[in-house]
């Protein structure tokens, strides 16, 4: 592992570029948040920018691009759980479920 780390121990420039692109993506997400578009499209665009941002953080800051495939794969489990939870609960909200919560 030690010799593996020597090759990429001083990559400050990469980190600066990563930082720059994360700020660009944040600005993009802010832009999406402030435009008046269809709520579903907005949610979809925000999911895309967010996934892209976490991909960049994981790959460059958390060095996941240097790790083995099996470690990369197990980090996907929370995302898979989120998709399962979402697809199990979201159909419940499509009917006339608003009576469950009242404004005070």
């Amino acid at each position: 592992m030690a010799e593996h780390h020597d090759q990429h121990s001083i990559h400050y420039k990469t980190y600066l570029m990563t930082w720059f692109w994360l700020l660009v993506l944040t600005a993009l997400a802010l832009g999406v948040g402030y435009t008046h578009i269809n709520a579903t499209l907005k949610a979809l665009l925000l999911v895309c920018t967010t996934l892209f941002k976490i991909l960049v953080i994981a790959a460059f800051f958390m060095h996941l691009r240097y790790e083995r495939l099996n470690l990369i794969l197990i980090t996907l489990t929370p995302l898979i759980l989120a998709v399962i939870l979402f697809s199990f609960t979201f159909p419940e909200t499509l009917g006339n479920a608003t009576h469950l919560i009242r404004v005070r």
Binding site: T50, I54, M62, E67, L71, L81, L85, T98
Partner: protein, 206 residues
């Protein structure tokens, strides 16, 4: 029989036969990843629950009218920047430069403290306006409840991160640090950043 390997020999020769690290990492880094994954499961559950409550609510307050979005954007900027500085601290520690690593770590801690200060300010402001876990002046009670639970849990993670990084920084200053130690603390700090990316997008912007 002599030339072909038995089943047992094949298993012992594989990555899982013992004496090897199948994930190609040190044990401490692997444990940190396992912790991060379990913590991410918690936040996934929080955010999906928030989404569910929001979609069954008749209406949801407009975040731009409740929150100071300039402050939230500034907090996002600070956390992303501190994450970048943390990555540089890991690089400095790997390059056996404890002095530089210490400086980067201190900068990271300062970023975390600024974030916590902003969050304390935001919470105080909202509580003064009448936001509580059970009710709030803007609409459904679930609005403030999910706000306090999600940002509270995240804020506590930032606080833990600042504590861990302070210990690592002190150890770096004493020369008692290891590249692995700094990297593991860094992994946790980047994870806190990842969670905030989700909270920022889905709680404040959506």
């Amino acid at each position: 029989m002599d030339s072909t390997l038995t089943e047992q020999q094949r298993i012992l020769a594989s990555d899982w036969g013992g004496g090897k690290s199948p994930f190609g990492t040190s044990w401490s880094k692997f444990m940190m990843w396992i912790f991060i994954i379990s913590d991410a499961l918690t936040f996934a559950a929080f955010l999906i629950t928030y989404g569910f409550m929001r979609s069954i609510s008749p209406e949801w307050p407009k975040q731009t009218e409740v929150f100071n979005m300039v402050l939230i954007t500034f907090m996002t900027f600070v956390l992303i920047s501190s994450s970048a500085v943390m990555a540089m601290a890991v690089a400095a520690a790997r390059a056996a430069n404890p002095k530089l690593a210490f400086r980067f770590l201190v900068l990271t801690i300062v970023g975390g403290l600024i974030f916590l200060g902003c969050q304390a300010f935001e919470w105080t402001h909202l509580i003064e306006e009448g936001a509580r876990l059970t009710h709030n002046p803007w609409g459904v009670p679930q609005f403030a409840a999910s706000f306090f639970v999600i940002t509270g849990f995240h804020g506590f993670h930032v606080f833990s991160g600042v504590t861990i990084l302070s210990i690592v920084a002190i150890r770096a200053a004493m020369g008692k640090y290891s590249g692995d130690g700094v990297e593991n603390a860094g992994l946790y700090w980047h994870f806190v950043d990842v969670v905030w990316v989700f909270v920022f997008a889905f709680f404040y912007l959506l």
